[in-house]
Protein backbone atom coordinates (compact mmCIF):
# COMPACT_ATOMS: atom_id res chain seq x y z
CA UNK A 1 0.00 0.00 0.00
CA UNK A 2 1.61 3.30 -1.12
CA UNK A 3 1.32 5.93 1.59
CA UNK A 4 0.82 9.67 1.37
CA UNK A 5 3.36 12.05 2.92
CA UNK A 6 2.31 15.68 3.27
CA UNK A 7 5.08 18.27 2.88
CA UNK A 8 4.24 21.73 4.22
CA UNK A 9 6.37 24.75 3.40
CA UNK A 10 5.69 28.23 2.03
CA UNK A 11 8.85 27.93 -0.06
CA UNK A 12 7.53 26.53 -3.35
CA UNK A 13 11.05 25.91 -4.64
CA UNK A 14 11.83 23.83 -1.55
CA UNK A 15 8.67 21.77 -2.07
CA UNK A 16 9.54 21.17 -5.73
CA UNK A 17 13.07 20.01 -4.87
CA UNK A 18 11.81 17.65 -2.19
CA UNK A 19 9.16 16.23 -4.51
CA UNK A 20 11.79 15.54 -7.17
CA UNK A 21 14.20 14.10 -4.62
CA UNK A 22 11.56 11.76 -3.20
CA UNK A 23 10.60 10.44 -6.63
CA UNK A 24 13.05 7.54 -6.12
CA UNK A 25 10.86 6.38 -3.20
CA UNK A 26 7.64 6.42 -5.23
CA UNK A 27 7.08 2.75 -4.48
CA UNK A 28 6.95 3.54 -0.73
CA UNK A 29 5.20 6.91 -0.60
CA UNK A 30 3.75 9.66 -2.71
CA UNK A 31 4.04 13.34 -1.87
CA UNK A 32 1.24 15.82 -1.24
CA UNK A 33 2.13 19.47 -0.71
CA UNK A 34 0.68 22.48 1.13
CA UNK A 35 1.88 26.09 1.35
CA UNK A 36 0.98 26.69 4.98
CA UNK A 37 -0.71 25.12 8.01
CA UNK A 38 -4.26 25.99 6.97
CA UNK A 39 -3.80 24.42 3.56
CA UNK A 40 -2.24 21.38 5.23
CA UNK A 41 -5.32 20.89 7.42
CA UNK A 42 -7.47 21.01 4.31
CA UNK A 43 -5.30 18.28 2.73
CA UNK A 44 -5.55 16.19 5.88
CA UNK A 45 -9.32 16.35 5.71
CA UNK A 46 -9.42 15.26 2.08
CA UNK A 47 -6.65 12.67 1.93
CA UNK A 48 -5.42 9.74 3.91
CA UNK A 49 -2.07 11.04 5.12
CA UNK A 50 0.45 8.82 6.87
CA UNK A 51 3.04 11.45 7.81
CA UNK A 52 3.43 15.24 7.83
CA UNK A 53 6.73 17.03 7.31
CA UNK A 54 6.40 20.73 8.04
CA UNK A 55 8.44 23.88 8.15
CA UNK A 56 7.94 26.14 11.17
CA UNK A 57 7.88 29.63 9.75
CA UNK A 58 4.89 30.04 7.43
CA UNK A 59 2.13 32.62 6.82
CA UNK A 60 -1.48 32.20 8.07
CA UNK A 61 -0.78 29.14 10.24
CA UNK A 62 2.80 28.37 11.26
CA UNK A 63 4.35 24.96 11.95
CA UNK A 64 3.74 25.00 15.72
CA UNK A 65 0.06 25.83 15.23
CA UNK A 66 -0.20 23.07 12.65
CA UNK A 67 1.52 20.65 15.01
CA UNK A 68 -0.98 21.50 17.76
CA UNK A 69 -3.92 21.06 15.35
CA UNK A 70 -2.62 17.67 14.22
CA UNK A 71 -2.14 16.50 17.81
CA UNK A 72 -5.73 17.52 18.47
CA UNK A 73 -7.47 16.17 15.38
CA UNK A 74 -5.10 13.54 13.94
CA UNK A 75 -2.97 12.33 16.85
CA UNK A 76 -2.05 9.14 15.02
CA UNK A 77 -0.28 11.01 12.21
CA UNK A 78 3.40 11.55 13.03
CA UNK A 79 4.93 14.96 12.35
CA UNK A 80 8.54 15.73 11.43
CA UNK A 81 9.64 19.34 11.79
CA UNK A 82 12.15 20.84 9.38
CA UNK A 83 13.47 24.22 10.37
CA UNK A 84 16.09 26.77 9.58
CA UNK A 85 15.71 28.38 13.01
CA UNK A 86 19.01 28.37 14.80
CA UNK A 87 17.58 29.40 18.17
CA UNK A 88 18.44 26.81 20.85
CA UNK A 89 15.55 24.82 22.23
CA UNK A 90 13.50 24.81 19.03
CA UNK A 91 13.91 21.04 18.61
CA UNK A 92 12.96 20.24 22.20
CA UNK A 93 9.99 22.60 21.92
CA UNK A 94 8.84 20.79 18.77
CA UNK A 95 9.22 17.40 20.42
CA UNK A 96 7.32 18.57 23.50
CA UNK A 97 4.59 19.65 21.12
CA UNK A 98 4.33 16.11 19.78
CA UNK A 99 6.74 16.04 16.82
CA UNK A 100 8.42 12.67 16.34
CA UNK A 101 11.36 13.99 14.36
CA UNK A 102 13.34 17.14 13.70
CA UNK A 103 15.68 18.00 10.85
CA UNK A 104 17.60 21.27 10.65
CA UNK A 105 17.86 23.12 7.37
CA UNK A 106 19.89 22.78 5.28
CA UNK A 107 19.76 18.98 5.08
CA UNK A 108 20.42 16.18 2.61
CA UNK A 109 17.20 15.04 0.95
CA UNK A 110 18.15 11.43 1.56
CA UNK A 111 18.52 12.07 5.31
CA UNK A 112 14.90 13.24 5.45
CA UNK A 113 13.81 10.36 3.21
CA UNK A 114 15.34 7.87 5.66
CA UNK A 115 13.46 9.47 8.56
CA UNK A 116 10.22 9.30 6.56
CA UNK A 117 10.74 5.64 5.63
CA UNK A 118 11.49 4.75 9.24
CA UNK A 119 8.27 6.37 10.40
CA UNK A 120 6.19 4.76 7.66
CA UNK A 121 7.47 1.32 8.57
CA UNK A 122 6.10 1.81 12.09
CA UNK A 123 2.64 2.37 10.66
CA UNK A 124 2.40 -1.30 9.70
CA UNK A 125 4.68 -2.82 12.34
CA UNK A 126 1.84 -4.96 13.70
CA UNK A 127 1.16 -6.48 10.31
CA UNK A 128 -0.81 -5.90 7.14
CA UNK A 129 -3.83 -7.91 6.00
CA UNK A 130 -5.76 -7.90 2.77
CA UNK A 131 -9.30 -8.91 1.91
CA UNK A 132 -10.34 -9.02 5.56
CA UNK A 133 -13.91 -9.09 6.85
CA UNK A 134 -14.02 -6.02 9.11
CA UNK A 135 -16.47 -7.13 11.81
CA UNK A 136 -14.83 -10.46 12.58
CA UNK A 137 -11.36 -8.97 12.69
CA UNK A 138 -12.30 -6.11 14.98
CA UNK A 139 -14.04 -8.37 17.44
CA UNK A 140 -10.82 -10.35 17.58
CA UNK A 141 -8.95 -7.16 18.45
CA UNK A 142 -11.49 -6.55 21.23
CA UNK A 143 -11.17 -10.10 22.53
CA UNK A 144 -7.38 -9.91 22.50
CA UNK A 145 -7.55 -6.55 24.33
CA UNK A 146 -5.09 -5.06 21.88
CA UNK A 147 -3.84 -1.49 22.02
CA UNK A 148 -3.31 -0.48 18.44
CA UNK A 149 -4.11 1.86 15.60
CA UNK A 150 -5.69 0.21 12.57
CA UNK A 151 -5.71 1.88 9.16
CA UNK A 152 -8.19 0.48 6.69
CA UNK A 153 -8.82 0.84 2.99
CA UNK A 154 -12.22 -0.14 1.61
CA UNK A 155 -11.41 -2.40 -1.31
CA UNK A 156 -14.65 -1.48 -3.08
CA UNK A 157 -14.48 2.32 -2.90
CA UNK A 158 -10.85 3.06 -1.99
CA UNK A 159 -12.01 5.10 1.01
CA UNK A 160 -9.76 5.06 4.04
CA UNK A 161 -10.35 5.08 7.76
CA UNK A 162 -8.54 4.76 11.07
CA UNK A 163 -9.65 2.95 14.25
CA UNK A 164 -8.08 3.47 17.64
CA UNK A 165 -8.16 0.62 20.15
CA UNK A 166 -7.00 0.91 23.75
CA UNK A 167 -6.82 -2.47 25.53
CA UNK A 168 -9.48 -3.86 23.24
CA UNK A 169 -11.87 -0.92 23.65
CA UNK A 170 -12.65 1.15 20.57
CA UNK A 171 -11.69 4.69 21.63
CA UNK A 172 -12.16 6.61 18.40
CA UNK A 173 -12.48 6.35 14.65
CA UNK A 174 -11.91 8.64 11.71
CA UNK A 175 -12.98 8.45 8.10
CA UNK A 176 -12.50 11.50 5.93
CA UNK A 177 -13.87 14.47 7.82
CA UNK A 178 -15.99 12.49 10.26
CA UNK A 179 -14.93 11.08 13.60
CA UNK A 180 -16.23 9.04 16.48
CA UNK A 181 -19.21 6.68 16.29
CA UNK A 182 -20.33 7.95 12.89
CA UNK A 183 -16.94 7.18 11.41
CA UNK A 184 -16.84 3.76 13.08
CA UNK A 185 -20.28 2.87 11.72
CA UNK A 186 -19.22 3.87 8.24
CA UNK A 187 -16.01 1.86 8.42
CA UNK A 188 -17.78 -1.23 9.79
CA UNK A 189 -20.11 -1.21 6.79
CA UNK A 190 -17.12 -1.88 4.54
CA UNK A 191 -17.32 -5.50 3.58
CA UNK A 192 -13.75 -6.25 2.60
CA UNK A 193 -10.79 -4.14 3.55
CA UNK A 194 -7.03 -4.05 3.50
CA UNK A 195 -5.63 -2.99 6.81
CA UNK A 196 -2.39 -2.29 8.58
CA UNK A 197 -1.89 -2.46 12.31
CA UNK A 198 0.33 -0.13 14.26
CA UNK A 199 1.11 -1.10 17.82
CA UNK A 200 0.11 1.64 20.25
CA UNK A 201 -2.65 4.20 20.33
CA UNK A 202 -2.06 7.93 20.58
CA UNK A 203 -5.69 8.75 21.30
CA UNK A 204 -6.35 9.15 25.01
CA UNK A 205 -9.91 10.46 25.00
CA UNK A 206 -12.64 7.85 24.55
CA UNK A 207 -15.00 9.35 22.00
CA UNK A 208 -16.91 6.14 21.34
CA UNK A 209 -19.25 5.04 24.12
CA UNK A 210 -21.30 2.44 22.30
CA UNK A 211 -20.21 -1.20 22.44
CA UNK A 212 -18.35 -2.52 19.41
CA UNK A 213 -20.96 -5.15 18.55
CA UNK A 214 -23.75 -2.54 18.59
CA UNK A 215 -21.78 -0.35 16.20
CA UNK A 216 -21.28 -3.36 13.94
CA UNK A 217 -25.04 -3.96 14.07
CA UNK A 218 -25.64 -0.36 13.01
CA UNK A 219 -23.23 -0.89 10.16
CA UNK A 220 -24.95 -4.11 9.10
CA UNK A 221 -28.22 -2.27 8.95
CA UNK A 222 -26.64 0.38 6.74
CA UNK A 223 -25.34 -2.32 4.49
CA UNK A 224 -28.76 -3.95 4.32
CA UNK A 225 -30.27 -0.63 3.33
CA UNK A 226 -27.80 -0.36 0.52
CA UNK A 227 -25.94 2.66 1.85
CA UNK A 228 -22.63 0.86 1.68
CA UNK A 229 -23.25 -0.03 -1.96
CA UNK A 230 -23.62 3.68 -2.69
CA UNK A 231 -20.23 4.50 -1.22
CA UNK A 232 -20.93 4.88 2.45
CA UNK A 233 -21.68 8.59 2.35
CA UNK A 234 -21.27 10.82 5.35
CA UNK A 235 -24.88 10.74 6.46
CA UNK A 236 -26.05 10.43 10.00
CA UNK A 237 -25.58 6.99 11.50
CA UNK A 238 -28.84 5.16 11.88
CA UNK A 239 -30.44 4.84 15.26
CA UNK A 240 -29.43 1.80 17.29
CA UNK A 241 -32.98 1.10 18.31
CA UNK A 242 -34.68 0.39 15.02
CA UNK A 243 -34.40 -3.30 14.22
CA UNK A 244 -35.50 -6.11 16.56
CA UNK A 245 -31.92 -7.36 16.73
CA UNK A 246 -30.57 -3.96 17.67
CA UNK A 247 -33.33 -3.39 20.19
CA UNK A 248 -32.64 -6.75 21.76
CA UNK A 249 -28.88 -6.21 21.96
CA UNK A 250 -29.37 -2.72 23.37
CA UNK A 251 -31.78 -4.06 25.98
CA UNK A 252 -29.35 -6.80 26.99
CA UNK A 253 -26.48 -4.33 27.20
CA UNK A 254 -28.55 -1.98 29.33
CA UNK A 255 -29.78 -4.71 31.65
CA UNK A 256 -26.57 -6.66 32.08
CA UNK A 257 -24.13 -3.77 31.82
CA UNK A 258 -20.83 -3.79 29.94
CA UNK A 259 -19.23 -6.12 29.26
CA UNK A 260 -22.49 -8.03 28.87
CA UNK A 261 -21.00 -10.99 27.00
CA UNK A 262 -22.55 -10.22 23.64
CA UNK A 263 -20.29 -11.16 20.77
CA UNK A 264 -20.48 -10.97 17.03
CA UNK A 265 -23.63 -11.24 14.95
CA UNK A 266 -23.72 -14.14 12.53
CA UNK A 267 -25.97 -14.19 9.51
CA UNK A 268 -25.22 -17.36 7.62
CA UNK A 269 -27.50 -19.36 5.37
CA UNK A 270 -26.85 -22.33 7.66
CA UNK A 271 -28.22 -20.54 10.75
CA UNK A 272 -30.98 -18.94 8.71
CA UNK A 273 -32.14 -22.31 7.40
CA UNK A 274 -32.00 -23.89 10.80
CA UNK A 275 -33.95 -21.09 12.48
CA UNK A 276 -36.63 -21.35 9.77
CA UNK A 277 -36.92 -25.09 10.27
CA UNK A 278 -37.27 -24.72 14.03
CA UNK A 279 -39.89 -22.02 13.53
CA UNK A 280 -41.78 -24.25 11.11
CA UNK A 281 -41.67 -27.09 13.66
CA UNK A 282 -43.13 -24.73 16.26
CA UNK A 283 -46.12 -24.09 14.02
CA UNK A 284 -46.63 -27.83 13.47
CA UNK A 285 -46.50 -28.33 17.23
CA UNK A 286 -49.21 -25.67 17.74
CA UNK A 287 -46.69 -23.43 19.51
CA UNK A 288 -46.65 -20.74 16.85
CA UNK A 289 -43.54 -19.29 15.27
CA UNK A 290 -40.15 -19.15 16.94
CA UNK A 291 -39.61 -15.75 18.52
CA UNK A 292 -36.29 -16.18 20.33
CA UNK A 293 -33.93 -18.93 21.31
CA UNK A 294 -30.84 -19.64 23.35
CA UNK A 295 -28.58 -22.39 22.08
CA UNK A 296 -25.51 -24.12 23.45
CA UNK A 297 -23.80 -26.15 20.74
CA UNK A 298 -20.80 -27.06 22.84
CA UNK A 299 -18.68 -24.32 21.21
CA UNK A 300 -16.80 -21.72 23.19
CA UNK A 301 -19.78 -19.46 22.54
CA UNK A 302 -23.50 -19.86 22.96
CA UNK A 303 -26.00 -18.26 20.59
CA UNK A 304 -29.16 -16.19 20.79
CA UNK A 305 -31.53 -16.83 17.90
CA UNK A 306 -33.36 -13.82 16.49
CA UNK A 307 -35.68 -15.12 13.76
CA UNK A 308 -37.07 -11.67 12.96
CA UNK A 309 -33.66 -10.65 11.59
CA UNK A 310 -33.34 -13.11 8.70
CA UNK A 311 -32.31 -15.87 11.05
CA UNK A 312 -29.51 -13.86 12.63
CA UNK A 313 -27.79 -15.25 15.68
CA UNK A 314 -25.83 -13.30 18.26
CA UNK A 315 -22.87 -15.07 19.82
CA UNK A 316 -22.82 -14.75 23.57
CA UNK A 317 -20.38 -15.70 26.29
CA UNK A 318 -21.54 -18.81 28.19
CA UNK A 319 -20.71 -16.89 31.37
CA UNK A 320 -23.62 -14.52 30.88
CA UNK A 321 -26.34 -14.87 33.59
CA UNK A 322 -28.67 -17.20 31.70
CA UNK A 323 -31.87 -16.65 33.66
CA UNK A 324 -31.62 -12.90 33.42
CA UNK A 325 -30.88 -13.23 29.72
CA UNK A 326 -33.88 -15.55 29.18
CA UNK A 327 -36.08 -13.07 30.97
CA UNK A 328 -34.87 -10.36 28.60
CA UNK A 329 -35.49 -12.60 25.59
CA UNK A 330 -39.07 -13.20 26.67
CA UNK A 331 -39.89 -9.53 27.28
Amino acid sequence: MVKNVLLVDDDAEMLRMLQEGFAVHADAFTVLTAGDGAEALDRLMRHNVSLVVTDLKMPRMDGFELLAAIMEGYPDIPVIIMSGFSAPGIESMARRGGAVGFIAKPFMIDALAQQILLMLRKEAEGGTLHNVSTGMFLQLIEMEQKTCTIRLVNQASGKTGVLFFMEGALFDARSGAIQGERAATEIFAWEHVSLSIQNGCTVREKRIRKELNLLILDAMRRKDEGDAAMGGGHGTAPSAADSPLQRLCARISDALGAPCGLGDVLQSSDWNGRVKRISHCGERLNLGRLTRGYVDTGDARDYILVPAESGAVVAVSPGVPRDKLMQLLVE
Binding site: I278, C281, R284, T291, R322
Partner: protein, 115 residues
Protein backbone atom coordinates in the same frame (compact mmCIF):
# COMPACT_ATOMS: atom_id res chain seq x y z
CA UNK B 1 -39.67 -45.55 34.51
CA UNK B 2 -41.99 -42.64 34.89
CA UNK B 3 -40.38 -42.09 38.27
CA UNK B 4 -37.25 -40.77 36.59
CA UNK B 5 -39.24 -37.95 35.00
CA UNK B 6 -41.74 -37.44 37.82
CA UNK B 7 -39.90 -34.49 39.34
CA UNK B 8 -39.65 -32.77 35.98
CA UNK B 9 -43.32 -33.36 35.14
CA UNK B 10 -44.28 -31.90 38.51
CA UNK B 11 -42.63 -28.54 37.81
CA UNK B 12 -45.17 -25.75 37.35
CA UNK B 13 -45.73 -24.90 33.71
CA UNK B 14 -44.37 -28.20 32.31
CA UNK B 15 -46.87 -29.59 29.80
CA UNK B 16 -44.97 -32.59 28.57
CA UNK B 17 -41.68 -34.46 28.52
CA UNK B 18 -40.26 -36.50 25.67
CA UNK B 19 -37.10 -38.52 25.52
CA UNK B 20 -35.61 -39.67 22.23
CA UNK B 21 -32.79 -42.14 21.70
CA UNK B 22 -29.71 -40.96 19.75
CA UNK B 23 -31.23 -42.72 16.71
CA UNK B 24 -34.40 -40.63 17.03
CA UNK B 25 -36.68 -43.30 18.52
CA UNK B 26 -39.18 -42.03 21.03
CA UNK B 27 -38.36 -43.77 24.30
CA UNK B 28 -40.66 -41.87 26.64
CA UNK B 29 -43.44 -39.32 26.43
CA UNK B 30 -45.86 -38.00 28.94
CA UNK B 31 -48.07 -34.96 28.74
CA UNK B 32 -50.16 -33.16 31.28
CA UNK B 33 -52.52 -32.06 28.51
CA UNK B 34 -55.36 -33.86 26.72
CA UNK B 35 -54.09 -36.58 24.39
CA UNK B 36 -56.39 -35.42 21.57
CA UNK B 37 -54.61 -32.09 21.31
CA UNK B 38 -51.10 -33.50 21.43
CA UNK B 39 -48.90 -32.97 18.41
CA UNK B 40 -47.82 -35.97 16.38
CA UNK B 41 -44.57 -37.72 17.21
CA UNK B 42 -43.25 -37.04 13.73
CA UNK B 43 -43.53 -33.30 14.41
CA UNK B 44 -41.44 -33.63 17.55
CA UNK B 45 -38.95 -35.68 15.59
CA UNK B 46 -38.76 -32.92 12.96
CA UNK B 47 -37.82 -30.50 15.71
CA UNK B 48 -35.23 -32.96 16.96
CA UNK B 49 -33.71 -33.03 13.46
CA UNK B 50 -33.75 -29.25 13.16
CA UNK B 51 -31.97 -28.97 16.50
CA UNK B 52 -29.34 -31.61 15.69
CA UNK B 53 -26.01 -30.68 17.25
CA UNK B 54 -27.53 -28.55 20.00
CA UNK B 55 -26.25 -29.55 23.41
CA UNK B 56 -28.90 -27.46 25.10
CA UNK B 57 -31.51 -25.04 23.81
CA UNK B 58 -34.33 -22.94 25.12
CA UNK B 59 -36.67 -22.18 22.25
CA UNK B 60 -39.33 -19.53 22.73
CA UNK B 61 -42.34 -19.71 20.44
CA UNK B 62 -45.41 -17.50 20.23
CA UNK B 63 -47.51 -19.83 22.40
CA UNK B 64 -45.04 -21.86 24.41
CA UNK B 65 -41.49 -22.98 24.98
CA UNK B 66 -39.37 -26.04 24.38
CA UNK B 67 -36.36 -26.88 26.51
CA UNK B 68 -34.10 -29.29 24.70
CA UNK B 69 -31.19 -31.10 26.30
CA UNK B 70 -28.70 -33.59 25.00
CA UNK B 71 -28.55 -36.21 27.77
CA UNK B 72 -25.81 -38.31 26.22
CA UNK B 73 -28.07 -41.38 26.13
CA UNK B 74 -30.56 -39.45 24.04
CA UNK B 75 -32.31 -36.08 23.86
CA UNK B 76 -34.78 -34.69 26.33
CA UNK B 77 -37.51 -32.29 25.25
CA UNK B 78 -39.60 -30.42 27.76
CA UNK B 79 -42.66 -28.56 26.55
CA UNK B 80 -43.87 -25.70 28.73
CA UNK B 81 -46.16 -22.74 28.64
CA UNK B 82 -44.87 -19.29 27.89
CA UNK B 83 -44.15 -18.70 31.54
CA UNK B 84 -42.06 -21.46 33.05
CA UNK B 85 -39.32 -21.65 35.67
CA UNK B 86 -36.51 -22.48 33.27
CA UNK B 87 -33.86 -22.65 36.00
CA UNK B 88 -35.95 -25.25 37.86
CA UNK B 89 -36.43 -27.24 34.67
CA UNK B 90 -32.69 -27.23 33.97
CA UNK B 91 -31.99 -28.29 37.53
CA UNK B 92 -34.42 -31.20 37.27
CA UNK B 93 -32.77 -32.30 34.06
CA UNK B 94 -29.34 -32.10 35.75
CA UNK B 95 -30.70 -34.41 38.42
CA UNK B 96 -32.40 -36.96 36.18
CA UNK B 97 -29.71 -37.31 33.49
CA UNK B 98 -27.35 -39.39 35.69
CA UNK B 99 -30.34 -41.71 36.36
CA UNK B 100 -30.75 -42.24 32.61
CA UNK B 101 -27.09 -43.14 32.31
CA UNK B 102 -27.40 -45.63 35.17
CA UNK B 103 -30.44 -47.21 33.56
CA UNK B 104 -28.68 -47.65 30.30
CA UNK B 105 -25.57 -49.14 31.81
CA UNK B 106 -27.64 -51.52 33.93
CA UNK B 107 -30.10 -53.02 31.48
CA UNK B 108 -30.50 -51.00 28.33
CA UNK B 109 -32.83 -48.05 28.06
CA UNK B 110 -35.31 -49.50 25.62
CA UNK B 111 -36.40 -52.16 28.09
CA UNK B 112 -37.54 -49.58 30.60
CA UNK B 113 -39.40 -47.03 28.62
CA UNK B 114 -42.89 -47.28 27.25
CA UNK B 115 -43.05 -47.10 23.47
Amino acid sequence: MREVFAGLLAVDGVKGVLFFSPAGDLLFEEFTINAATRPLVRDWRALLDAAAGFREAELLFEKGRIYLRDAGEGTLMVATGLIAPSAMIRLNCDILIPSLKQLKSAKGLRRFFRR
